[in-house]
Symmetry: C2
Subunit: 549 residues, 2 copies
């Protein structure tokens, strides 16, 4: 068996290692355009920022190891320039000598990844307009911030990489401006969930220019060595360099030219074994179009974990095993100056786009028992199917314990579980780790309560649209909390005295109860409903409204 | 509806609050023997240790809140002394006045918890022999360590509470000796998994006396105010006080006297709705015998999370809802001087005791990507059914990220998943949070590999028993690693040169490969097997053997 693998990062490297474990005799050729195989591309921003100090650390499986340990024929600084499917061969160019050669294959694995999208803007090829994809890019940016005295940067695009680059440059003392076309950072997320992160970025001195875009790049005429980035609004930002992080496009050109099927967004179409339309050719990682685990629809989600598993599955299938890829679920996490945002499954935006029906709840639990020092509040949003309670997705943002809760929900989604299962799951509890009612249980209680009709909830976004319905906003927090800030036109009856003042409330108006996070509002709603009032609770409480801005 | 609830901590308090949310008109009487309802009993050791500074913090739902917010009839310092099932009434004693009264009930919920077992040892009633169950106990111990100048303590019993008390007293500068009858701390755990914790406790100055027990307690004749604890071995330990943490017994006497069925270990027998043998009487929390979620067998596992959920379910059922308790899974966590140990489901010990067949694997993954600063190694043990891969349980010990992985596995067990599901689950990955192949995925890979026969593993404990089989121990680590320490009689052929030296290995002997954590050993096993050798990998590698002591 002779296997040629194009691209030696994540999926390609995993496929190669797995293939070797399955067959000592296979000939395995790993072709990599860059200087090193299998580098830690998710670590690049942290190398630029100085968090990872030694560049060597990024070389997770150096060529020597791949050669000795896995007996792989590793060819770095080589590029496959053509695939000849009829003759089952590839044309390889040595990027250092320019020499061109041919290799036949029994099986070919394409793991070329995705490249940063560079829109055709004026000046986009300016040498100070960078991107961050590989070690060469990282070396260049590292040199600029560590030794070349750069003082400011414009990040174009506020996706995961843009935000990580922004944090890391700011950590280096660089003055950072982030420009994003959407009205929020992290566009795949629901806007209200990233508002606290936006505020946190601003608090750390990062300037955000939302609903804006870079239009052109040019040298400054007055300041030598300064780049001028002109925004859509006409504003000009003078900076040492810019980084384009608008998104990535699958590097599927080679496959397309060879007549392999690609999807509408450019990803190579694969089946559950990662085979392309040519059964001798596999595609894995960011270049592949895969199935969305939750919806079953075709998708392209560039993530390292799925890339590694896909590589493994392709190698398995080459050696006759029935391994199948279940689909990508979209579990992701990002850290920003000590805060964490994580998500799994579908966002509300994605649900709306796909036309699926959904219900949602918000909670603001502590990461661990409030009575133990150091507890911090997170905001957790859970989306689920109103028909059967099946979990569609979740997002959380906070300081501690955020990735843990999203991982637990990711496992629940993998198992096709419902909100009832979140109610019942038994998780680790000691006061420094969680709560007797863990945030996961709380999310289950609230969601299942909403589904069962025990807990009538209303969302702020819906309220805003229906202010004409003459409903009364009833703030059930304490007088002190009310005085510090409340919703417009709300009246204040603290939960503790609600029963005694219940006769003062009108029976012909809808009562929208709210408190700080939702719990007292829920109790108030229960009391009022049982007394015959038309009462609902504002999900996520005052905190969600105020932090959503 | 008139509900009387005996015991206002955890299960009782949860039942009361839930009952109120379900029915504004119900009469709900909450009877608590102690000074306060609903205190944070899991926080008591940390209050003693000074980590929780304000005692108020422990009062998670003070009487005033329960009265005002939930309109509960809370009676602290009251004790139910008899249940009259024929007349559906309880006899209540006011512990301050001694007055006795009667209350009828429509439904009765018993949430009396479990009390520390005090064995009938000589001197057990000595005033310096303490226990830590409630606020009064905590106040007493707090006074001794914070103001009364105690300098040393003997902890009898190294279960969860014993270990937490040991840590917290040591944190106060108290010289601590822990005496435990078993040959390990945390007896429900598998011994090899707690060895690193034992070492860590010793490193922090805590003295462990394992396979030993306290035989008697008496005043010192020579040192005033010193307690002498005599151990089974005859050793005498002079200390300021002792704390008995041998375990707990359900406080089911009241129920038993009233003719309610109790199990062999004293727990009140309950059905899935938490009903006792008397359908008008429920039992929740540590006093109840429940179903083991994994085995379906009756069990008693005192945990706060299950107690809270059981309280909720009892209240639901009283008001006609079909809520059911799924059983207790035994998810637990303990922190010891910055290290964490967590478990869920069954241990190997429990599996052996129950006669179930199982397979096990060990891994030592980093909590996050090794290339990002601050990664720490954990040890994770996964137990599963060799028939179908269904997960029986898991234990992990380490510094960071331990509770997260056990929570994810707890969710997987809740869903009845298999090791294949752990391979495929998509979890949060950014280098500061996890790895592209998360410890959960790694556990899945190794376990599924073992099940499929790809990865032939052997366990150290089995090897020890079968040294007569003439197998060769093959250390595939580097020469430097080998020189620093290796298994007796092992030969060293580093993985990198294994292929070139393969001809030197005998074909008629079994080869037991090992490395530091198991990964290189696995690769060596794959190479050797494919070349026709009878090779297996030592699960958990040298690290497990050396840390298991």
């Amino acid at each position: 068996m002779k296997i040629v693998i194009i691209g030696a990062v994540a999926g390609g490297a995993s496929a190669a290692a797995r293939a070797r474990r399955l067959d000592e005799d296979a000939e395995i050729i790993l072709i990599e355009r860059g200087p090193e195989p299998s580098f830690a591309n998710c670590g690049l921003p942290y190398y630029v920022g100085g968090e990872i100090q030694a560049r060597d650390k990024l070389l997770v499986a150096p060529t020597s190891l791949l050669r000795q340990r896995h007996r792989l024929d590793v060819r770095t600084r080589h590029e496959v320039v053509a695939i000849d499917r009829d003759n089952a061969s590839v044309t390889i160019k040595d990027l250092q000598t320019g020499e061109v050669s041919t290799e036949t294959y029994d099986k070919l694995i394409i793991s070329t990844g995705a490249s940063p999208f560079r829109p055709p803007l004026r000046g986009i090829d300016h040498p100070d307009v960078l991107e961050l994809r590989d070690l060469d890019d990282a070396d260049q940016m590292h040199a600029r911030v560590a030794t070349d005295g750069s003082s400011s940067a414009v990040i174009v695009g506020a996706g995961f990489i843009g935000i990580e680059v922004a944090e890391n440059l700011a950590r280096r003392g660089i003055e950072v401006t982030v420009v994003e076309l959407a009205e929020q950072i992290l566009p795949p997320w629901d806007a209200e969930m990233v508002r606290p992160l936006e505020q946190h970025l601003r608090d750390q001195g990062v300037r955000l220019k939302l609903q804006n875009s870079a239009e052109s790049f040019r040298d400054s005429k007055t300041e030598e060595g300064r780049l001028v980035v002109t925004l859509q609004t006409g504003e000009e930002i003078h900076s040492s360099f810019a980084v384009v992080c608008i998104g990535v496009r699958p590097e599927s050109g080679l496959a397309a030219e060879a007549g392999i099927d690609c999807g509408p967004r450019g990803g190579i179409v694969t089946n559950e074994h990662m085979q392309t339309s040519d059964p001798n050719i596999y595609a894995v990682g960011d270049v592949a179009q895969v199935k969305d685990f939750v919806t079953g629809d075709p998708t392209q989600i560039p993530l390292a974990g799925p890339a590694n598993r896909q590589g493994r599955i392709a190698a398995d299938h080459i050696f006759g095993r029935d391994s199948t890829y279940r689909g990508t679920q979209g579990t992701a996490v990002v850290g920003v100056f000590g805060k964490t945002a994580a998500m799994t499954g579908l966002s509300e935006k994605m649900l709306q786009r796909s036309g699926r029906s959904y219900q949602k709840i918000y909670i603001h639990p502590n990461d661990h028992a409030g009575y133990y020092p150091g507890a911090t509040q997170m905001t957790l949003k859970l989306l689920f199917d109103p028909e059967n309670g099946r979990i569609w997705g979740a997002q959380a943002v906070g300081t501690h314990g955020v990735d843990k809760r999203i991982d637990v929900i990711a496992m629940a989604i993998q198992a096709g579980l419902t909100v009832d299962d979140l109610e019942e799951v038994e998780l680790c509890y000691a006061p420094q780790y969680g709560s007797a009612k863990d945030p996961i249980n709380m999310a289950g209680f609230v969601a299942a309560g909403a589904l069962r009709g025990d807990h009538a909830v209303v969302h702020w976004s819906d309220l805003e649209q229906s202010t004409a319905d003459m409903s009364i906003l009833l703030d059930v927090r304490t007088e002190q909390e009310f005085a510090r800030g409340h919703l417009p036109d709300a009246i204040n009856i603290p939960l503790e005295v609600l029963r005694s003042q219940i006769s003062e409330l009108p029976r012909d108006r809808k009562l929208v109860c709210y408190c700080q996070v939702g719990q007292r509002g829920y109790m108030a709603t229960r009391i009022l409903q049982q007394r015959g009032f038309d009462a609902v609770n504002l999900s996520g409480g005052y905190r969600l409204v105020s932090q959503s801005g």
